[in-house]
Every structure is written in structure tokens, then in C-alpha cells.
């Protein structure tokens, strides 16, 4: 039979199948954590209230991956050992797209870390996520400011506490460069503009920016607009804008966008190290601040997490190569608006061990345990500054814990995805590319159904 007369191939196929079967056999050995708990030990005292779920498994799904995921795993290791609960964390870059599919398909994780209140609301409205237990709620109210908790409250029901956070109201600069040139860190908007002029006169374009981020291109510019609106109009108008109580192209918003334009669309100010205004649209956000380290740009407004984007060897500290200052308020008397983001711990299951994990993640124990490992910021009030080693994280935590701070969540994450992660992003690209403010905002308003 001709078909069978090829021993070499038959051998190859047989070998491959054998390999496959062998691999499946290896794969079935699961690393079971049960029975390993040392509940009696002294270091387990803080976890006593979570005990009684020995051998149970809790799955967590999030967009956190690689080294940050490792650190997260490490942060709850003690909890796992003391309670016997096995936490299985899975991070994915397709988190936002996959979570709805899994939830609709009946294959939801026990817990998800959702970074978009808009997405959280969608799950709440469909009844897919469970209301937080009384213990979780009490823990969250004790540890987090009310400004945060309202983002995970839908229709009066509280769904979960925040976990990590980031501060977006930061301007990155080079302390070294500032010292050499005799510039000082501005504390008001007017000072910042004056400083920009001084820098521009010295022959360096003061600001650099970049909004290219593959399919999410445009988001850094939306942060700019939100930060400026918080400063020109205050948190109340900002809330009305993100909930669509006022139209997207309200005159007050137009004014804020134009004010952002006095920096972003000013050929005299941008785009240090890259070219003209239009180069903002094609510069990757990861690289946008790099000219600061080369002396080609002085100021770069970007979130605290930008600390990870600097070329290796760059020292991030108040007296180092780069650092950040608070994006100054226009009228300091009106308080200190802080724009930021973070993820919320919501549960798709109300099994007691899931609720125990949810409560634990809202606690000060976890916040400090995670902070000690490094590179982390949280708005948790129990977080001890002494546990935050990294200078920029310290500044972020200070900013979040500051009594005067008025926190607001990133607006594009609050709006419906079609706007906040769609037309708003694209509109900002058009705006940078020269379209006028009124037309762009009108277009976005038209897309908000």
C-alpha cells in the first residue's frame, strides 16, 4: 500500500504522538498546596480571621504579567501558607477582551482585577459579579478613601476594593538638568508656563510627548485633557463630564482642551527630541520621555508607572537622573486634584474562600506585604511609607494619602468603551494632527449613544 510505504514519516508521526502523550502525562501532576499550611506559627497571627478554608483553590485573572505577576504571587505567599488557600493567578495581555468572553461563556475566574470601572459596571449590570461581603466592605471602607470606593459601587451595591494604583498627575524632569541650568520645580500652572518659556528661549524644546501605543494610540493625550479639565473646572464638572451629564463638547471642556493645546500644540514647546507637533502622534509613549535623559527635552507629563520605561541605568530619584513633580494646580486654593488609575478586586463567585481572599486583598497586611517587594503604589491608608523603597512610588503614595488630594479616576476608563477606548483616543490623534478642538469634540459627542 503506497500510503503506508513511508516508514520514515510513519516513524516521525509516531514519535510526535508519543511525545505529545508523554507531555500530557507530565502535565497532570498538579502542585497541590493543601496540607502544607502551618496555621499555628506566630507569623500567621494576622491571618487568623481568614482561616478555615484549607485546601481550597481560588483563581484570579488579571492583566498583570511577567515580573509584576511574580511579585504579586510572592505578596500573598504568606497568606497561602497560613490559610491553606491556593491562589492561582493568571495574567493576560488580552484581559479586557477575554474577561467578558469567559464570563458570558460561564467560565469566569473566581476573582478578577479590573482596571476599568466602566467594565466593572458592565459586569455588575448583567449580574455577573457578586456583591462584596460585609467583611470586605468594612475592610475597604476602613482602608480606602471614599473617592476610590465610589468607582466600584454600582447602583448602591459595593463590589470590591481597589488594589494597586498609579498617579497620572506627574511631570517627569531631570533634577540634574534643572540644577545645572538653575531652573526650579514649578508649583503653580503659571510658574510652569513661565518655566517652559525660559527653557524654550534657551534653545531646548521644553516638552516632549508621545501618544502612539498600537491599538490604544491616543490614550496619553486623553490623560492630558482629563488632568487639565480637573484643574480648570474642578472635580464636580469632571464627574458630570465622565458620566455624560454634560455633553462631551461642553464649552468648559472645549476650554480645557484648548488649554492643553497651548502646550501640546505649541510648536515652540513640543516635541523635544522628536520634531514638531505632529511627531507626538507617531512617537511611542514608551519612548516619549527618553529625550529628557539626553538633554533634548525638559518636561514630560506621564503617570508614575513611566518609571519602568526609562533606559536601564537611569537613576529615578529626587537627586538622580530623572524624577517627577506634581502636575501643578491652576488655582492651588481649590485643592489638589489627582488623576490616577488602579484595579478593583471583584469576585465572580461568592464561595467563602473567595470572599476571604477578597477581604485579605483589601487589607493593610497585603498592601504592606506587596509594597515591601518593591515597585508598587496603593491608595491603601494602612500602607506604611517606610515599606515603600522606590522614591517615585513614595511620592505617589504621599500624593494619594495627602489630605488635600482630591482623587479622580482616569475618565476614559469611566466612559463607555466605545468612547473612552475608541472615539476619544482616535479624536485625540486627529486633534494632534491639526484638526480643531470644536470639530474633534463634536465628533466624540456624536459617538456617545
Amino acid at each position: 500500500m503506497a500510503f503506508h510505504a513511508r516508514p520514515r514519516q510513519a516513524l516521525a508521526i509516531a514519535g510526535a504522538i508519543g511525545l505529545a502523550l508523554g507531555a500530557t502525562a507530565c502535565g497532570t501532576g498538579s502542585n497541590d498546596n493543601s496540607g502544607k499550611n502551618n496555621a499555628g506559627a506566630a507569623e500567621c497571627a494576622p491571618y487568623e480571621k481568614y482561616q478555615g478554608h484549607d485546601g481550597k483553590k481560588v483563581t484570579i485573572y488579571s492583566s498583570i504579567r511577567e515580573i509584576e505577576a511574580d511579585r504579586l504571587d510572592q505578596s500573598w505567599k504568606q497568606f497561602e501558607e497560613c490559610t491553606g488557600i491556593d491562589i492561582n493567578h493568571e495574567g493576560s495581555g488580552e484581559f479586557e477582551a477575554q474577561l467578558p468572553v469567559r464570563a458570558d461563556g460561564g467560565n469566569a475566574p473566581d476573582i478578577a482585577f479590573i482596571p476599568q470601572p466602566g467594565l466593572l459596571q458592565r459586569f455588575a449590570e448583567r449580574g455577573q459579579i457578586k456583591a462584596a461581603s460585609a467583611e470586605t466592605k468594612a475592610m475597604a471602607e476602613e482602608n480606602y478613601p471614599a473617592d476610590w470606593l465610589k468607582y466600584s459601587t454600582v447602583g448602591g451595591t459595593f463590589y470590591g476594593a481597589p488594589l494597586g494604583s498609579n498617579v497620572k498627575s506627574f511631570v517627569w524632569y531631570s533634577p540634574k538638568m534643572f540644577q545645572e541650568k538653575g531652573w526650579t520645580v514649578p508649583t503653580t500652572w503659571d510658574d510652569m508656563i513661565k518655566l517652559s518659556d525660559t527653557i524654550a528661549d534657551s534653545g531646548v524644546k521644553p516638552w516632549c510627548a508621545g501618544i502612539e501605543s498600537q491599538e490604544a494610540t491616543g490614550w496619553p493625550a486623553t490623560d492630558w485633557i482629563e488632568d487639565v479639565l480637573l484643574r480648570t473646572q474642578g472635580p464636580e464638572v469632571y464627574d458630570q463630564w465622565t458620566t455624560h451629564e454634560i455633553p462631551f463638547n461642553d464649552p468648559r471642556v472645549v476650554e480645557a482642551v484648548d488649554r492643553a493645546g497651548t502646550i501640546l500644540k505649541n510648536e515652540k514647546y513640543v516635541n523635544g527630541g522628536f520634531g514638531g507637533v505632529r511627531s507626538i502622534a507617531t512617537t511611542a509613549f514608551q519612548e516619549a520621555g527618553v529625550p529628557i535623559t539626553q538633554g533634548k527635552c525638559a518636561l514630560h507629563r506621564q503617570a508614575s508607572f513611566y518609571a519602568n520605561q526609562w533606559p536601564s541605568g537611569t537613576r529615578v530619584a529626587e537627586d538622580g537622573d530623572v524624577f517627577a513633580f506634581y502636575f501643578p494646580a491652576i488655582d492651588p486654593a481649590k485643592g489638589k486634584p489627582v488623576l490616577g488609575g488602579g484595579e478593583f478586586v471583584v469576585a465572580f463567585s461568592d464561595r467563602p474562600e473567595v470572599q476571604a481572599v477578597q477581604t485579605y486583598l483589601a487589607s493593610g497586611e497585603h498592601a504592606n506585604s506587596r509594597a515591601k517587594i518593591g515597585d508598587w503604589v496603593s491608595a491603601n491608608k494602612k500602607l506604611d511609607l517606610a515599606n515603600v523603597a522606590n522614591p517615585i512610588d513614595k511620592l505617589s503614595v504621599q500624593t494619594l494619602q495627602d489630605e488635600k488630594s482630591v482623587f479622580r479616576f482616569d475618565g476614559s476608563d469611566l466612559m463607555p468603551a466605545a468612547v473612552g477606548a475608541g472615539t476619544f483616543w482616535k479624536g485625540m490623534v486627529d486633534w494632534i494632527n491639526g484638526k480643531d478642538t470644536a470639530t474633534v469634540l463634536k465628533g466624540i459627542e456624536g459617538s456617545w449613544k
Binding site: 500500500m1 503506497a2 500510503f3 510505504a5 513511508r6 510526535a16 504522538i17 511525545l19 505529545a20 507531555a23 500530557t24 502535565g27 497532570t28 498538579s30 492583566s63 498583570i64 504579567r65 511577567e66 515580573i67 509584576e68 505577576a69 511574580d70 504579586l72 504571587d73 492561582n88 493567578h89 493568571e90 495574567g91 493576560s92 495581555g93 488580552e94 477575554q98 468572553v101 469567559r102 458570558d104 461563556g105 460561564g106 467560565n107 501605543s213 514608551q286 519612548e287 527618553v290 508607572f305 519602568n308 520605561q309 533606559p311 536601564s312
Partner: protein
């Protein structure tokens, strides 16, 4: 491959009408200009891959600041990216080798199952007479236009909730855990591949000469015997062509794997791992170049070793129309 050549009589009979057409095509493709054009196209199409390859050998700082062509004026060479990708230290996700094996475990059955089912179905649809045969065939053909994205959520629900109709449970939930999730992926890939596989193999089989089947019948061969001893050897090129198609598709698939295999070390294939390599905020994207080349190795081997079937399968298919 003289061994696969069917008896001479059939060979000439089948090739007679198309030899002129094939010859004409062959003559046109052999001219000097055509060769030149082919070479130019080949070079142009290879440049991006080549650039990716050069990039994967450059240090992180170079990749992030300048284009790959700067390699030639300022050659800096490192294997660090490959080191990162192959032996990366992320403890939560383990080493790449695991994912490599997962990819194999997912891909091989996902190629063999549709091949087996589709060749049986295609035989039945082509050579067995039963009522409504053409309608079944049209139905399968029409299923090709259903995009698989539409079926993801229902299929996932089918696995995790089971199937019940009017309160009667037709099938319980699968409730798979850990490595058992491979079964879901195989099932999904097989489902999504079948319509096209049946269509392709049916077209191929229905072109086989009728006399051959009748002769076999007269000699007392049953359907299983005809299928095994006559049809299978003759459609080997089509099986190989579809096998390669399906292999490349499953190996490169991210979507189906993400949904049905999940992202855990136990079941996730290479593609899922590669998508995560760049880190939460994409700041390690220099690894992607090396990752791409690691994942390309197996499809390349499969393609190169089975290439002659591939080309022959495509050509025969196209000329037969």
C-alpha cells in the same frame, strides 16, 4: 514519489484534458521575466523577516533607539534576547520549553482529528448514495461562512455549563481542570476546521474516476475497503496540503487557545506566552523579536519537509477547479 502513482491507465485518463493547460501555465512561468519577478517578490517579502532576525540579535538599547539597518554600520551582536526568551526567570510563568510542548500537544491532535473525520465524511458525501446527501454537503459548505469568533461564547458555555433543552440535560458540563483543558482546545479546533476540510477533501475525492470505484465494487470491495485501499492513497497530496494548512493555523493561533486553554503554564501554548513576554506595559518589547524566531522554527520545519505535497496539492486542486 513514484510509489503513489496509481495504475497507468487511470493516470493518463485523468491527466489528458489538463496536460495542455498545465503545460501552458508551466511554459509561461518558465520565462526569464517571470523568474526575475519571482526573485524580486521573494526578496521584497523576505526583507521584514530578515529585519526582524537582525533585530533579534541586537542589544536592547539599540533595538529601542535605532532601526535594524543600523546594524550594518554599527554591528553590535548579542544573544541576550534569546537568553531572556528561552530561559527567562519569570517564576510565575516558567520556561518557554513548557509552552513549546503545550503547543505540540495542542497542534498534533488538532491536525489529526479533522483529517480523520473529514476524510471519512468526504468519502461518504462523494461516493455513498443516500437521501439528502447534496443538502448535507451544501450545509457543510455553507458553515464555512460562519466566523469562528461568533461561536466562541456558545462553545465555551457548552463546555462549562453543558447543554440542556427545555430543562432536560442533554450533556452535562465538562468541568475540566488543568491539563484536561487540552480536550477543549482539540474539540474547538476540530470543529472550526471541519467544514473547510470536508469541502476540500470532497472536491478532491469526487474527481477520482468512477470506473475505479465500480471496478473495486465488482471485485467485491466494501466501502471501508475502498476507502482504505483506493481513496486514501490517491488523496494523499490533499491530506498533506490540508494537514500543513491546519498545522500552521493551529500553531499560530492565539484566540482559540486563549479562550479554551487559558493562560496557565499547564495548557497555554507558545503564542499565549509570547503575547505576555513584553510585560504588563510592554516595556520589554525587545524580547518579541527573539520570541518570534523561536516560535517560527517548528512551522518552518513542517513546511520545508512537506513542501512538495503542499505545492502539488494546491496545483492539482487549482487546475481541477
Amino acid at each position: 514519489m513514484t510509489t503513489t502513482t496509481p495504475p497507468a491507465a487511470i493516470g493518463t485518463q485523468a491527466t489528458e484534458p489538463r496536460s495542455t493547460r498545465a503545460a501552458r501555465v508551466g511554459r509561461r512561468l518558465n520565462s526569464r521575466i517571470a523568474t526575475l519577478v519571482a526573485i524580486v517578490i521573494a526578496i521584497v517579502w523576505t526583507i521584514p523577516t530578515f529585519g526582524l532576525f537582525v533585530s533579534s540579535l541586537r542589544p536592547e538599547a539599540e533595538i529601542k533607539t535605532t532601526g535594524w539597518w543600523n546594524f550594518f554600520s554599527n554591528p553590535e551582536f548579542t544573544l541576550e534576547n534569546y537568553q531572556d526568551v528561552l530561559f527567562g526567570q519569570s517564576s510565575s510563568s516558567g520556561q518557554l520549553a513548557n509552552y513549546f510542548i503545550n503547543s505540540l500537544v495542542i497542534t498534533l491532535p488538532s491536525v489529526l482529528f479533522p483529517l480523520a473525520f473529514a476524510s471519512l465524511a468526504a468519502y461518504a458525501l462523494a461516493w455513498m448514495n443516500f437521501r439528502g446527501r447534496d443538502w448535507v454537503y451544501i450545509g457543510i459548505f455553507a458553515l464555512q461562512i460562519v466566523p469562528l469568533q461568533m461561536a466562541l461564547v456558545p462553545l465555551l458555555s457548552f463546555f462549562s455549563r453543558g447543554l440542556s433543552l427545555g430543562g432536560v440535560t442533554l450533556m452535562p458540563a465538562w468541568n475540566l481542570d488543568g491539563a484536561q483543558n487540552f480536550a477543549q482546545v482539540w474539540f474547538a479546533h476540530t470543529c472550526f476546521a471541519l467544514p473547510f476540510a470536508v469541502f476540500l477533501l470532497h472536491n478532491f475525492m469526487s474527481q477520482l474516476p468512477k470506473d475505479l470505484m465500480e471496478a473495486a465494487r465488482v471485485d467485491g470491495a466494501s466501502h471501508p475497503r475502498i476507502f482504505r485501499t483506493i481513496v486514501l492513497p490517491l488523496i494523499a497530496p490533499a491530506l498533506a496540503a490540508f494537514g500543513i494548512f491546519q498545522f500552521l493555523w493551529v500553531w499560530n493561533d492565539l484566540l482559540v487557545a486563549l479562550i479554551f486553554a487559558g493562560g496557565s503554564e499547564v495548557t497555554a501554548p507558545l503564542t499565549v506566552r509570547l503575547a505576555e513576554l513584553a510585560g504588563t506595559r510592554g516595556n520589554e518589547w525587545q524580547r518579541l523579536t527573539a520570541g518570534a524566531f523561536v516560535s517560527i522554527v517548528v512551522p518552518l520545519l513542517v513546511f520545508l519537509s512537506l513542501q512538495r505535497y503542499f505545492v502539488r496539492g494546491l496545483l492539482t486542486g487549482s487546475v481541477k477547479g
